[in-house]
């Protein structure tokens, strides 16, 4: 995290310079355009459709159903977080903060549920 300290100053200047085009560049990676956003939303829509379809073809999927649904859920989640919430383009610190909460939540709650379930 300490590396952030040093980049702070530089980044301000950078932001001040680019001003209104600031959207086009931030920490080196291009921000998506509106067109990109629509494309991403299309992917999300398709995934949602697939999710619903797999719910209806449950029989055929058999044991694959749950993993398939989980994977699609994770992909959707990741797409929204990385693109719509800009974590892909934003400071690492945001990612770390959010991911620690997320991972912590998954760990403790899955742990707790496991103590109920199996042992």
């Amino acid at each position: 995290m300490s590396d952030q300290t040093l980049t702070g100053e530089a980044q301000q200047e950078h932001e001040a310079q680019t001003e209104h085009e600031a959207q086009t560049e931030h920490e080196g990676r291009a921000h998506p355009s509106d067109r990109n956003y629509v494309g991403i939303a299309l992917i999300l829509a398709v995934l949602t459709a697939l999710e619903v379809v797999s719910f209806y073809v449950e029989e055929q999927l058999g044991a694959l159903l749950v993993p398939a649904l989980m994977i699609m859920m994770i992909v959707k989640f990741a797409i929204v977080v990385m693109w719509f919430m800009h974590l892909r383009f934003d400071s690492n610190l945001f990612t770390r903060v959010f991911v620690s909460g997320l991972v912590l939540a998954i760990t403790v709650y899955v742990g707790a549920l496991m103590t109920f379930r199996f042992w």
């Binding site: 995290m1 300490s2 952030q4 301000q12 620690s100 760990t107 403790v108 496991m114 103590t115 042992w119």
Partner: protein
């Protein structure tokens, strides 16, 4: 009342800007920093810290009285002092008070007061939210305590296990006050956590890299992260219980098939991180005090920091050690038993580091140092009995006996409270300008130390002999009589020691001024006057080292021994006596140009809405609606009000173009000391801005 006095005639607006400045039109913004009213509207982290501390100490007295009643009841077998109902309320309120209304706010007090000073900031990141947190905490505590007058206090212990917490077993409103009250104080903690984390990460003075932050700041930061993630877990538990009790949900309704272990899991997933929230800042305090009085840098600073972080992580993986006897399966028991043993390792690292710091140091046993060393020794005892609990078969013998009570009092009293008192004696001269008396303080320490051990050491014995906790009486002939009597005597000694402290506080106003740096301190808070000016520092601090202030005062000679520099500069105007031994006043600073966030009514207004919602849920929804209105209105008011009042303090420098002012306002909220680093443009102070060299 406070509001109406400052009322200005209703301005009939022309529909333009002035509306924006006074959102509700009627009241002018508070602007004074003096007088009692300023305490209601202050957004100064130092005042808020003092408010937290004073409130927590008041609750400490109340929680202590409850403890004395418990001990009076248990002094002899078949005690008659309290009825079983009242006894239950007493130990419940005692535990809840000490954890949520004493130690947590006490540590919030230190964090609030010290973090900005130690990292060289002018204030916290969100000053008004800071005030909000305090008021929410206060009103939450008062709300909880109002239960005594409204049909009886909660009576199910501080961990409030299901299904005893259900309406069937606790029909009064007590537990409702508990759930709602803790939800309210939880909001305070959560907002405070966000605020202080952002402060630590974002408001550091130039050069103050993360690994130059004092250990106290680090430990507080870890504790705030723990709060950030633990509060929502207990919030879930509290909501579920509240819905059960108020709206007939079934979460803990065993008849409907509910599993009471759900409560235990949620509570302890919160609960174990919580105990580290209670101890880590205290660890931080003694990590500042011990080096100061051993006249040595802290031994193994990086180990201190990383063991603190490790504790923060591992603290999430041990919660079920509170549930060994609750019927979790053998694999879980084994896993949690192991993880609990491991968590003692980073804790041990800290103990060794303190000992390493003391080793061959030039020790001065001031009261602060006595309490710090007291923590190291007493906490170790508590840590060891903790490791005994971690052995699951052992724990099945000890759980729910006085042995556990002994354990957690050694860590919480011998640890957290001793740490807090150490900090109180150490920073008192900084906060109030004069020391507490050392003589009376030593008496305070020794009486407290003796009383504490007399109270809690015997509990180990009766605990192992099987005396159950939370039971209002015990029969004769169990062999517990003597030990219980000793405990009771000890508890009154503790009460006496507290009174000695109060006397010390009252008397201390007559003590001479202590000067800016009475202990020859190492960290930046000692570089400014005592008490510090509203804006904390005239000169903007910069940090080139860990223990920056020490490095400004001392340099190494050829043999690597520290020698005092001829001359060094304080960071704000100090009193004459502080100037001996090389200190210089800062020069050429125009402090009138430093903009600070202005006081505001809104935090207290919003906070006031919360207990109203609480009462509303219990009695009549109209009250809840009123509370809701206050909250929403307050939020709107807060949102529309610039953080720095554009009309405040402009008499001195009218060089602004009015269109600019709101931006300045926002900046001052974003930037604390940044306001001084030239970046704030026309308002920046003239302080030096070098990042990595020491200021001259």
């Amino acid at each position: 009342m406070a509001l109406t006095e400052e009322r200005t005639p209703l301005e009939l607006t022309t529909g333009e800007e002035s509306v924006v400045e006074k959102p509700l039109g009627a009241f002018t913004r508070p602007s004074s920093n003096e007088g009692w009213r300023s305490w209601l509207t202050t957004v100064d982290h130092k005042k808020i810290g003092i408010l937290y501390g004073a409130t927590a100490m008041a609750f400490f007295a109340i929680g202590g009285l409850e403890a004395l009643l418990i001990r009076a009841q248990l002094a002899q077998p078949n005690g008659q002092v309290l009825s079983p109902e009242i006894y239950n309320q007493m130990f419940t309120m005692h535990g809840t008070t000490m954890v949520f209304l004493v130690i947590m706010p006490m540590l919030a007090a230190f964090s609030n007061y010290l973090i900005p000073l130690m990292i060289g900031a002018r204030d916290v990141a969100f000053p008004r939210l800071n005030a909000f947190s305090y008021w929410v905490f206060l009103f939450g505590g008062l709300f909880l305590y109002s239960s005594f007058f409204l049909g009886g206090a909660p009576d199910n212990g501080w961990f409030n296990y299901a299904p005893n917490s259900g309406v069937a077993y606790s029909p009064g409103h007590g537990i409702d006050f508990w759930t709602l009250g803790l939800q309210i104080t939880g909001i305070a903690s959560l907002v405070g956590a966000v605020n202080l984390i952002v402060t630590c990460l974002n408001m550091r003075a130039p050069g103050m890299t993360l690994l130059r932050m004092p250990v106290f700041v680090w430990m507080a930061l870890v504790a705030q992260f723990l709060l950030l993630f633990a509060i929502p877990v207990i919030t879930v538990a509290l909501f579920l219980l509240m819905f059960d009790r108020l709206f007939g949900a079934n979460f803990f309704n065993v008849e409907a098939g509910a599993d009471p272990l759900l409560w235990q899991h949620l509570f302890w997933i919160f609960g174990h991180p919580e105990v580290y929230i209670l101890i880590l800042p205290a660890f931080g305090i003694v990590s500042e005090v011990i080096p100061a009085f051993a006249r040595k840098p802290l031994f193994g600073y990086p180990f201190m920091v990383f063991s603190g972080i490790a504790i923060g992580f591992m603290g999430w993986g041990v919660w079920a050690h509170h549930m060994f006897a609750s019927g979790v399966g053998p694999v879980s028991v084994a896993a949690f038993s192991l993880s609990t043993m491991f968590i003692a390792v980073p804790t041990g690292v800290k103990i060794f580091n303190w000992i390493g710091t003391l080793w061959r140091g030039k020790l001065t046993f001031t009261v602060a140092m006595l309490f710090a060393v007291g923590l190291v020794s007493q906490f170790t005892i508590g840590g060891l009995s903790g490791v005994m609990h971690s052995v699951a078969p052992h724990d099945t013998q000890q759980t729910d006996t006085y042995f556990v009570v002994a354990h957690f009092h050694y860590v919480l009293f011998g640890g957290s409270m001793f740490g807090i008192f150490s900090g109180v004696y150490y920073w008192w001269p900084k906060i109030f300008g004069h020391k507490l008396s050392e003589g009376i303080g030593k008496l305070h320490f020794w009486v407290m130390f003796a009383g504490f051990n007399l109270t809690f050491a015997p509990m180990h014995i009766v605990g192992l002999q099987g005396q159950p906790r939370r039971t209002a009486t015990y029969p004769e002939g169990m062999g517990w009589d003597l030990m219980n009597l000793l405990s009771t005597i000890g508890s009154f000694l503790i009460a006496l020691s507290f009174l000695i402290w109060v006397y010390n506080v009252v008397r201390s106003r007559k003590n001479p001024h202590a000067g800016a740096d009475p202990w020859d301190g190492r960290t930046l808070e000692w570089a400014t006057s005592s008490p510090p000016p509203v804006h904390n520092f005239d000169l903007e601090p910069t940090a080139g080292h860990l223990d920056e202030w020490w490095h400004q005062k001392y340099e190494e000679n050829e043999d690597g021994r520290p020698v005092r520099r001829e001359e060094f500069t304080y960071l704000s105007q100090v009193d004459e006596p502080s100037l001996s031994r090389g200190g210089r006043q800062p020069e050429g600073v125009d402090v009138s140009k430093i903009h600070l966030p202005s006081p505001s009514y809104w935090p207290i207004v919003i906070a006031l809405g919360l207990p109203l919602v609480g009462y509303g849920l219990l009695y009549t929804y109209w009250l809840a609606a009123l509370g809701g209105l206050l909250i929403i209105g307050g939020i709107v008011g807060l949102g529309l009000e610039p953080s720095v009042d554009p009309e405040a303090g402009h008499d001195e420098h009218d060089d602004h173009d009015p269109g600019h002012e709101p931006d300045d306002g926002q900046e001052a909220e974003l930037v604390a000391v940044g306001a001084g680093d030239g970046a704030a443009g026309p308002d920046g102070t003239t302080a030096a801005t070098t990042t990595d060299s020491e200021p001259t």
